[in-house]
Symmetry: D5
Subunit: 91 residues, 10 copies
């Protein structure tokens, strides 16, 4: 089951750089684990923004929420989720 | 070069059904040709809406505009385009 | 799997009353069938508006889209869908 | 009398973790008391967001405001309230 | 129980004048009946707009929806409802 | 001359509690003085929000601005003002 | 007492040209009468739009509404009104 | 003096095709005259939309309004104008 | 050449009062100089807001930007600029 | 390939002035390098705002993102990107 997810990152400028970097490193590892196991099949940068559009492939709403809530950057992101369905013209 | 495109369709209710159906049939064929030649790699329905999110893979902005403007439903759609780039965490 | 759905109805004022009434009668029957089979467990009117908030309980995004797209008033509605998950404080 | 309530939580990142956790623990207990006494019959997480949609069942606007204002997280939330009525097609 | 209600009227310009006037005459009578029986205690024109802000005093959400839905101009209005509570500084 | 005024209060979480309480106490006294002299005839809480809708009855725009600017919470509020006129259907 | 007023004109494209021209001629005369008597001291075109920003100088909200509602183009305009006060730095 | 101008075209679907084509032909000629005389130095299509971003180089606000108001498609466009100034980092 | 300018002031609550007062004093002097030399012919307070609407009369976009950028409160303001033209009905 | 880019700068008021100035100096040098090599052909100030509209001429979305992400002010800017295509009426 597919979902389009947009994530906008807002790291406060007074967060210590060391702490920010540690969070971003964990975020990268977390994201790559999910890409490898097939649940995060697409991850694209939005040009000019500290943001991404992603496709998630999960079995349920609950699974998607668990994945997103577990993102190390979750407290510093605005996330919006759009459920997708099969398009009748898709081949 | 990838772009995320959202298309919302607004067919006026006083458009004759026959004319609407003919346009939609041409839209489907046009879309499937582009899917087959690789320039429209993803096409998803937005759940609950007469709308889709799509990924286009084209060589230039001009090529993308030619493809979109050629959609038979183009006069009845609101389209928004987001340019995408490679994400540093994408594998 | 639960979804919150908001539907806003816009019936054009130049739609013949007879046709509008026939559509609304079919909408009511369609809605009550889904309520009875458990897939549309809640349906509430938004006070002061020709709109409703509903809860749908379905197995997938595709199933939800099929249900919504089949609504007789679908061509005359603006629909927005919010996927819901279990809340950690819910009992 | 039913109301749909959406709560979005914004905990400032410079609030000490201990204080934040203490508030969240009180929030959970407060919420579960109201769920048990029937005035907060539904509580759902919005997928991907630190937010919930809830249904409240109260006798008056004043009662609802007292309940919401008493939430331990109230100073850190944006809340919006939609009054609901019986839908003529609801069974 | 008090509610603030804003009504914006959009009468289509191709509605025959006679029909529009008949609806407005019924609207006025309907409104004055409710003002007299105490359920519509305030009705103000928004300066420069074909719109009003009103206060309704009703026993329930359902009663408010019945009153608003019964407005002869209901099909030509956008209505938004804000539930009000007693303010702790109100005398 | 009547005006509908909406006030949304945003007290910064790092304002010392003592200072906040002192401002709120002065706000309450200020508000009740104006209610008693007839220039602030209605004051309602918006359900679920740290906000109010109020009716002011003043002789001029300048008088209204002086009253609002004098509110002890003025630096911590977003205020919007809607001028009201007599409605032709008001009794 | 001063008010800033913005008027956006939307003349439906299927209004007969003769009727539109007659309304615009009356609008011009109406506007110039009010400019001459001092109640409409400023009238500016918004560059690139069929819209104006105006200053009105009236004795009350009711007087302003009467003037605006009397505009021959009133049924085809969206109007927004901002009450103005003396600025402490104005000379 | 430079201005960024965005024009969104909305041709009603019930405008006869012949009339629409005649207007568009005049629009093209009008636009090219202004491009040649240097007052419309840039004209770009917004990808995927029936819209353009343009740069105008004119001596005054009045001159810009005259040029825009004279566009044959003016009655069918939404136009927004942003005044531009020299940037201190521009070379 | 006239421009309508709206300025909304947001002074951070943790700016020392002395510093804020010094900036506001310079702002007042700066504003009154421009009012006296005719380039800032109108300055009005928006009722209920820490904001103003102003009319500027300048020779070019560059001149306007220089004036606005020089405002002592410029770093603490959101400014929006609307170019104005002569209205055909203005007398 | 052309893109219209709008950049809005928000430098936090508690960023030390020395640090802010150092970033702005690097921003200016970075911007002028790109203007000289032809990839940033236009850079305009938005009148009255700490913002610019720019035209970028790049070979791909990825190249544009690299350029924008490399801006020294990138962490303090909101950037929006609009892809542009050749306009059929452009000469």
């Amino acid at each position: 089951m597919l979902f389009l997810v947009r994530m906008d990152v807002y790291v406060p400028h007074d967060l210590p750089a060391e702490q920010a970097n540690e969070i971003k490193a964990r975020e990268k590892a977390y994201s790559q684990d999910l890409q490898r196991d097939g649940r995060w099949p697409h991850l694209w940068r939005v040009v000019g923004e500290y943001a991404n559009y992603s496709i998630f492939d999960v079995a349920s709403n609950d699974e998607l929420h668990q994945l997103l809530q577990g993102l190390p950057l979750f407290p510093f992101m605005k996330i919006s989720v759009t459920p997708l369905a099969k398009h009748p013209s898709a081949i």
